[in-house]
């Protein structure tokens, strides 16, 4: 993947490479990459003169930060009791068949990432999944595939436009 550090430098410069801005800097960088790659953290450490252990400490302390890549579309499949009984395994199978992801993984193009989570509080719609804050309920394997196909289609159009 292309990752030219241009954005990182831009953010660092804007915040004057100042220690007190570390969290803001990291948040903005993360917005760009959708996670904080190890080399970017090291780069920030070099540029700001902060030991990497300190940045690692900050990044692992706050829940907002992620050290693992996340997709443009983050899929969360509920595996709470209700959803489990109603067939969350089917949902997972549908996802795997359509985009080849298992829980905890990300697609190579960083388009989709998948996580399994506890009850999402929408048990009436079980089985449930959430894609970027949008809730999808009463899912079946086929329905899941349709939804994902739709997203891929939309992305393709955007890329061509």
């Amino acid at each position: 993947m292309e990752r030219t550090l241009e954005k990182v430098e831009e953010v660092l410069k804007r915040y004057g490479y100042k220690r007190e801005n570390l969290i803001k800097i990291l948040l903005e960088i993360q917005e760009h990459y959708r996670y904080l790659p190890e080399e970017v953290i090291n780069y920030v450490g070099v540029a700001m003169g902060i030991p990497p252990s300190k940045i690692y400490g900050v990044v692992t302390f706050y829940a907002q930060f992620s050290l693992k890549p996340k997709g443009k579309y983050t899929i969360m499949v509920c595996d709470g009791t209700a959803c489990h009984m109603a067939g969350s395994q089917e949902v997972l199978k549908g996802i795997e068949e359509e985009i080849g992801l298992k829980p905890g993984e990300v697609t190579k193009d960083l388009m989709f990432s998948l996580d399994q989570v506890g009850c999402l509080g929408a048990c009436a719609l079980a089985p449930v999944m959430v894609i970027n804050n949008e809730v999808y309920g009463n899912l079946t394997r086929e329905k899941v595939k349709e939804i994902l196909k739709g997203i891929k289609e939309k992305e393709r159009e955007m890329a061509n436009a």
Partner: protein, 645 residues
Amino acid sequence: MKITVDGRELSINPNARNLLEALREVGIEIPNLCYLSEVSVYGACRMCLVEVDGQIVTSCTTKPYEGMKVKINTPEIHRMRKTILELILASHNRDCTTCDKNGSCKLQKYAEDFGIREIRFQPMKKENGVDKSSPIVRDSSKCILCGDCVRVCEEVQGVGVIDFAKRGHETKVTTAFDTPLGETECVFCGQCVAYCPTGALSVRDDLDKLMEALEEGKMVVGMIAPAVRTAIQEVFGIRDEVAMAERLVAFLKMMGFSKVFDVSFGADLVAYEEAHEFHERLKKRERLPQFTSCCPAWVKFVEHNYPHLLPNLSTVKSPQQALGTVIKKVYSKKIGVSEDQIFLVSFMPCTAKKFEAQREEHRGIVDLVLTTRELVQLVKMSRVDLNTVVPQPFDRPYGISSQAGLGFGRSGGVFACVLEVLREEVGVVEEEYSTPMDGVRYANISLRDGTKFRGAIVYGLGKVRELMRHLEDFDIVEVMACNFGCVGGGGQPYPNDTKTRQFRAQILRSTMGIKTLVSPNENYYLVKLYEEDLRDEEARHHLIHTNYKPRRRYPEKDVELLPVPGDSKKTVKVCLGTSCYTKGSYTLLKKLIDHVKESDVEGRVEVLGTFCLENCGKSPNVLVDGKLLSEATFEKVLKELGEDV
């Protein structure tokens, strides 16, 4: 200042840092698990609870004031302390019998003092990852998160290689990305080990290797560092013994050592050589200030953090390596034993020496480095009572030393010894010292030949970072990584706190006092060594001088910036390490990326980054298809890439 403690009126020091220190000064030790007088106050463990005017407070964060009514022994406080201990112990790996800190662990001691016999809480197992990648061994399952090591490493040593990571019950102390310590910028000074209250930090135990060598029937030769003799008595309850080293010589002979030499002889050798090196540099005014190089933690610190100052380090080896080389290369020939039949063991107060002996350029010289604590272990398991051992002199020829050579064991020793040589050979007409702050001393010296120079003597690497800002004020700088110098080394017995270190320095002074030789120039065997074996300049350089190299601070890993799949491509790798970054490697990188993207070479030239190519003196550095371009420019890189690019 007057305060009441459990109904008793006490007079305390009004300037004490906090109530805990104030009470400690009058002989009352409040239990504590996260307080160190050497670093900032953390206030997390809550073991130091006391009642002040009816309120329960932590004494390490409370300032004393006139008339305060303190209670340190109430049922409530006892109950709370017990609960805290039980909570800590519930998530602690309690393998006490096989723990390195067995018998010197603060947590174990408190568990005993407070009579903890059962734990009311659910045991919670911590992740049991033991990092054995370096002389410093870390076991997080024994960590109580007091943060002492984190603060010592950052505040005292200015390294900051470990910190808290994660949160809640997952919190742990670790390096960035859990990198093994051996691959980081840790300098292996062992100061974190010295202060860790539990067995979470310890030093690699290498005693088995000694046993193997003895069993194999090799000629086992030992050498003992100055600071070892100052500390060993603490463990065995011996007081004010100035012949401790000689008792150790006798003991090691009983263990099967063939010869035992004195590292102080090596110190004389080093100071003698270093004084000449310094005088030369001073006359030519080049590579100043000269840095001492006998502390391997300091050397590694320069290699990671100040690579452009590597030429300032004295090229003379440390006493361990210098004497080691003489034993292996010169002595072996004299006694007609092949050098690989000699197994050379050095006894050191130091954990960084374990690393030093394994550095590439030193391989095959010192076969084993054992710390003072490992020596203590050896004494204990042998069941020998050191009190009853009849002292025996060190073996000749490397068995005598000057007072100044022995002084290497404490901060200021190297400087003083170098000065002794200059006093003897050039003459000193004026010397003047000042102490701008704890741990830093300045010296102004005028020599008889008219030259003047300024010296700085520092301990604690954190203070060196400060000094670096006005380096031009000095001509010679002595640095010892550990507070108070090697007497406070990471391999010394526990407790290894300020008070103990000062006491050891005092013992060293008394031991120096009974030596008859003052300067290395009077060391007859040293003079002889120079006459017989080190006369030839080239041979001397080869034997007792060494070299240093820049070291990366991040693990070696390529950063994909503009990757290209397949094999038919050219690869440009730009260094993004601190030195190169400061010299503008990012701007160079940006130009390259823009060029590649704009021209028609996209897909044929890939651009990568890396953190330090270990050639920091000539930054910025770029690798083009494996070829190193130093002091690289955009034009240089293009030229190397060839016509079509």
